[in-house]
């Protein structure tokens, strides 16, 4: 066949193929069909050039090259055009909303604990955890609460085996374990579950969560306690909150200290939220009791320390707008 005819035929065929390809977008395949090293139609044509006579070479060399260049450029351009067309597909309606992609969510309590842990890690605290089934020794005695002490009434205990084995009533049991098993300096926070013998209702559940902190070192004073709590509460609420520190009794500390923040709903004038106190009690604290340090094997004449503890559940409920504690723990809360 005449060489020019073949060139025309290939060109014609290519144009047809290009037309089809514009519809299906498979430009890579089209490229391979014409330019694959072993079997490309245009490649095979070009391979014939050395076999031609010198006169034909002069004549068809530029034709072949022209064909190759035209086809390559046509593919390239069509490809770009195709991409533009795809992106500007009228089916793409950026104003139509779609269902959001799904991801997992951490429990609100976990989120709050993490925030607090992050804060305290910055100040050099470790995170500690321990048993939930505890002994009376670690839950009460080492915390300066002898048998039949009136203050036992502050907590209704769930017993596993009376009189010695119980479900911890507070995270202070972790404190007594930490103090017993470690030498000062000590700086830990302990988030964890605690249990009380209470009937479940909107705001009480037989299990809930506390967050406790313990510091023991030489030269630790109430000034450090106040500073730690002040910094922490500013972090937790905001820097503008008003705080109040007052004496409060807890068996495991002396002097004991309660910390309140001014009610943000009524700015201190008294409302339902703060039970007309003007202030909201946020945590209990104090200098670790002389007897507690002694019973845990730390010399209270050499070391001093402080501890504080707070309930987490109400804080989490307020933060996430959950009205009932039972919902927080498996009883009617789902994530979208």
């Amino acid at each position: 066949m005449d060489i020019q005819n073949r060139v025309d035929e290939i060109h014609l065929k290519f144009n047809e193929d290009l037309k089809k390809t514009k519809l299906n977008g498979d430009f890579d395949n089209l490229f391979l069909k014409y330019f694959s090293k072993s079997s490309g139609i245009t490649t095979l044509l070009l391979k014939e050039l050395p076999k031609l006579s010198a006169e034909e070479k002069n004549k068809y060399g530029p034709v072949f090259n022209d064909l190759k260049a035209t086809q390559k450029e046509a593919i390239e351009q069509a490809k770009i055009l195709h991409e533009i067309e795809q992106v500007s597909n009228p089916l793409i309606d950026l104003t139509l909303p779609e269902k959001p992609a799904e991801t997992g969510m951490l429990h609100p309590l976990t989120q709050v604990i993490r925030e607090m842990n992050d804060f305290f890690r910055y100040y050099g605290f470790s995170v500690a955890e321990d048993r939930e089934i505890e002994t009376v020794e670690y839950n009460f005695r080492k915390l300066n609460l002898p048998e039949d002490h009136p203050a036992t009434d502050l907590q209704d205990t769930l017993f596993v085996k009376q009189p010695d084995i119980l479900l911890r009533t507070h995270t202070s049991s972790v404190e007594s374990r930490i103090l017993t098993n470690n030498k000062p300096p000590i700086r830990v926070v302990t988030p964890g579950k605690v249990y009380r013998n209470e009937t479940a209702n909107k705001s009480n559940s037989s299990f809930f969560h506390q967050y406790q902190g313990v510091v023991v070192d030489k030269g630790i004073t109430m000034q450090n306690l106040k500073a730690t709590i002040e910094t922490f509460l500013k972090f937790l609420y905001n820097t503008d909150i008003k705080m109040r520190f007052r004496y409060k009794y807890y068996p495991e500390v002396s002097p004991g200290m309660g910390a309140d923040i001014q009610c943000t709903f009524c700015s201190g004038s008294g409302c339902e939220v703060c039970r007309y106190r003007g202030w909201i009690e946020v945590l209990g604290s104090g200098m670790i009791h002389y007897n507690t340090l002694k019973m845990c094997g730390i010399d209270p004449e050499v070391y001093t320390g402080f501890a504080w503890g707070m309930g987490l559940d109400r804080l989490v409920m307020t933060k996430f707008g959950i009205p009932d504690i039972r919902r927080l723990y498996g009883g009617g809360m789902v994530y979208e």
């Binding site: 951490l106 089934i133 700086r187 500073a227």
Partner: protein, 661 residues
């Protein structure tokens, strides 16, 4: 503790508003508990200070705090008439271990009548109804001074004596409220001619009660064994103003002051003659002096308080200064401060009256100590992130569950109020799966949930704490509406595979239905779980990492820490891989996990081995299934060329597997 302001102002001159007074009480340690109503402050009592169950006790602290004058009420110090045969009521105590003091006086020819207005007003504001002047005086003195008192009509007594003894088994007392209470020898009673008239320290009986016809009375103020009153009142389920005070630590001295105060009021309001009577007081309680070092105030508060100020505060709180030098003071603790245990309690008193607000704020300056966070805590935090990344939602469920009679190892509570929550969970599966129901109710058609928490079991005798095992687990459950258990199992395995890979764990395998007794993890079973039979252990070598069920898996986080891990998922040498698919016929229930592990171990050119197809077909034979494995081989690694033959050799070693292709 309820404080009617009108009553409070009998002992302290103060011109502040109720709100300001409440604020001062709150600073002192008596936080306002309820809104102020009708001039009554309701203050939270923290169970420590017995004297804070008296209005004078609260007033004394407030006066010290406000620098106001504290006026102690008028008491009758003069002794009564010498007892006569006619007046005398003999006191016999047969249980000296339970009675520390029993202080009595006798009044004759008194006039029982309605109380005057001021007395009624105060009692009613506190919440005690007025009965008659004598009963009201005993109640008034109890609230005023914190010492419960009791008056009996001696003419109603069959014999002029009160015998205090342990109750007999099933002995019955009819209380003032008309209720019959059955007793036992743990309880002590005041008796009349061997008939119990009063449950000691708990509640009075009706038989010798004072009424308008009463002329002659015996008045008592007792001090009893606190533990006994506390335990017995709880056992008898009796709570009242008397018990409230007797289950705190009261000092025996208080009985005398209360008697002197009551005498003053009885003579004023009921007239008559008053006689000395028995004061059973075998052993006077000695209060040890205590030293307060100025240094200690500085050690605890970081600040110095001038010695004269320290002295003044202690004196205002009625500590008697026995000695004073540069270093500090030695004091006698007032009898009503039974809460003071250690020197630091004196420091607390000084700082409290000085006002906590005056303590400066100083951040800790010392360098932080070595970190002691347990690795498992950090590990679980990472697990949480991985789970959330896998689209799983975290929930926290109540570890308290109903008792399962089939489970002998379950930890059961002895005193739970609810039969639905009288035990601890043995698996998180049992408390987490019900949450799926919440999602279904919300019309959410698929969900994967996880919880990181503890499971509990008792392995041995219940007296030993070491026998209570707490296992930390990650539980993952998966649900998709309309999906078959088989397809659910594939999903759960994909989630598990991704999780293990993200945690850097390779070379794990599954072992069907073989309980691993060595680690004791077999008891994780949960006997009432539906798919108990179809369960597989997740293992690496001999280590049990967890358990897999078709719709859930459990990971033992402590065990995961022991597993061999590779650090990263990041590949640096990007090379072409080829896939080698091998079809197998496998006996159902056999352990092919170990064979897969052996393939992976062949050489470094094998990067992944996983199942791409799993099917059942009659042609394969009974109890057999087809499994297609895909093996990814990195072509540039040494050994890649001859690896296929070696793979086949490994597979042939397992008698439970035939190679199809």
């Amino acid at each position: 503790m309820k404080i009617p302001l009108i009553w409070l102002k009998d002992y302290i001159e103060i011109n502040k508003t109720p709100k300001e007074i409440a604020a001062s009480f709150t600073s002192l340690g008596l936080m306002l508990d309820k809104p102020i109503e009708n001039g009554v402050l309701d203050l939270e009592h923290r169970m420590d200070r017995a004297d804070w169950l008296s209005i004078t006790g609260c007033a004394r602290d407030l006066a010290a705090f406000e620098n106001a004058k504290f006026k102690f009420p008028k008491v009758h110090k003069e002794k009564g008439k010498e007892p006569t045969k006619e007046s005398s009521v003999e006191i016999k105590v047969e249980c000296p271990d339970l009675v520390n003091r029993f202080n009595t006086r006798v009044f004759r020819n008194i006039q029982v009548q309605e109380s005057p207005e001021w007395l009624k007003e105060r009692l009613e504001a506190y919440g005690i109804p007025s009965i008659n002047n004598i009963v009201d005086i005993t109640n008034f003195v109890m609230v005023e001074l914190g010492q419960p008192m009791h008056a009996q009509d001696t003419d109603k007594m069959e014999k002029p004596e009160i015998v205090i003894r342990r109750a007999k088994n099933d002995e019955i007392v009819k209380t003032l409220l008309g209720e019959e209470v059955k007793l036992d020898p743990d309880v002590f009673v005041l008796t009349q001619n061997d008939k119990a008239t009063v449950i000691g320290g708990i509640v009075g009986g009706e038989s010798t009660g004072v009424d308008l016809k009463t002329k002659n009375i015996v008045l008592d103020a007792g001090n009893y064994n606190q533990t006994s009153v506390r335990r017995n009142s709880r056992k008898l389920k009796i709570q009242n103003e008397t018990v409230l005070r007797y289950d705190k630590y009261l000092n025996t001295e208080l009985t005398q002051i209360a008697i002197e105060r009551a005498v003053e009021l009885i003579l004023e309001l009921a007239g008559g003659e008053y006689y000395e009577n028995f004061d059973y007081y075998p052993k006077k309680k000695h209060i040890k002096p205590m030293t307060l070092r100025h240094k200690r105030i500085k050690v605890l508060s970081g600040m110095e308080i001038e010695p004269p100020k320290v002295r003044k505060i202690l004196e205002l709180l009625e500590y008697k200064i026995l000695d004073e030098d540069k270093k500090g003071l030695t004091v006698e603790i007032p009898h009503f401060r039974t809460d003071v245990e250690v020197e630091d309690d004196l420091v607390a008193d000084v700082l409290r009256i000085n006002n906590y607000e005056k303590i400066p704020v100083t951040l800790i300056s010392a360098a932080p100590p070595k970190e002691i966070t347990k690795p498992v805590y950090k590990y679980e935090e990472k697990l949480r992130d991985v789970c959330a990344g896998l689209g799983l939602h975290e929930h926290i469920t109540d570890p308290l569950v109903a008792k399962n009679d089939n489970d002998k190892k379950q930890v059961v509570l002895e005193n739970s109020q609810s039969s639905e929550k009288n035990s601890l969970r043995y698996s998180v599966y049992q408390t987490l799966t019900p949450v799926i129901e919440m999602y279904r109710k919300q019309n959410i058609k698929k969900c994967g949930l996880f919880e990181i928490g503890k499971t509990f079991e008792l392995n041995g005798k219940g007296e030993n704490i070491e026998n209570y095992l707490e296992t930390r687990v990650l539980e993952v459950v998966y649900f998709e509406e309309g999906m078959s258990p088989y397809n659910t199992s594939l999903n759960i395995k994909r989630v598990l595979g991704r999780l293990l890979k993200d945690m850097g764990i390779q070379n794990y395998y599954f072992q069907v239905n073989i309980a691993d007794n060595k680690t004791g993890k077999s008891s994780q079973s949960g006997n009432n779980d539906n798919n108990y039979e179809n369960k597989s252990l997740i293992k690496q070598e001999e280590l049990v990492l967890g358990e897999l069920k078709y719709d859930s898996f459990t990971i033992f986080t402590q065990e995961m820490l022991k597993a061999e891990t590779v650090n990263t998922r990041i590949k640096h040498d990007i090379t072409a891989s080829i896939f080698e698919d091998i079809s197998l016929v496998v006996k159902v229930g056999s352990i092919i996990g170990e064979t897969i592990k052996a393939i992976k171990d062949l050489n470094s050119s094998i990067t992944e081995v996983y199942v791409i197809d799993e099917y059942q077909d009659k042609k394969l034979g009974e109890n057999k299934k087809g499994v297609t494995l895909r093996i990814e081989i990195a072509t540039d690694k040494s050994g890649a060329a001859s690896v296929k033959e070696k793979i086949l050799e490994v597979i042939e070693k397992n008698p439970d597997i035939e190679i199809r292709t």
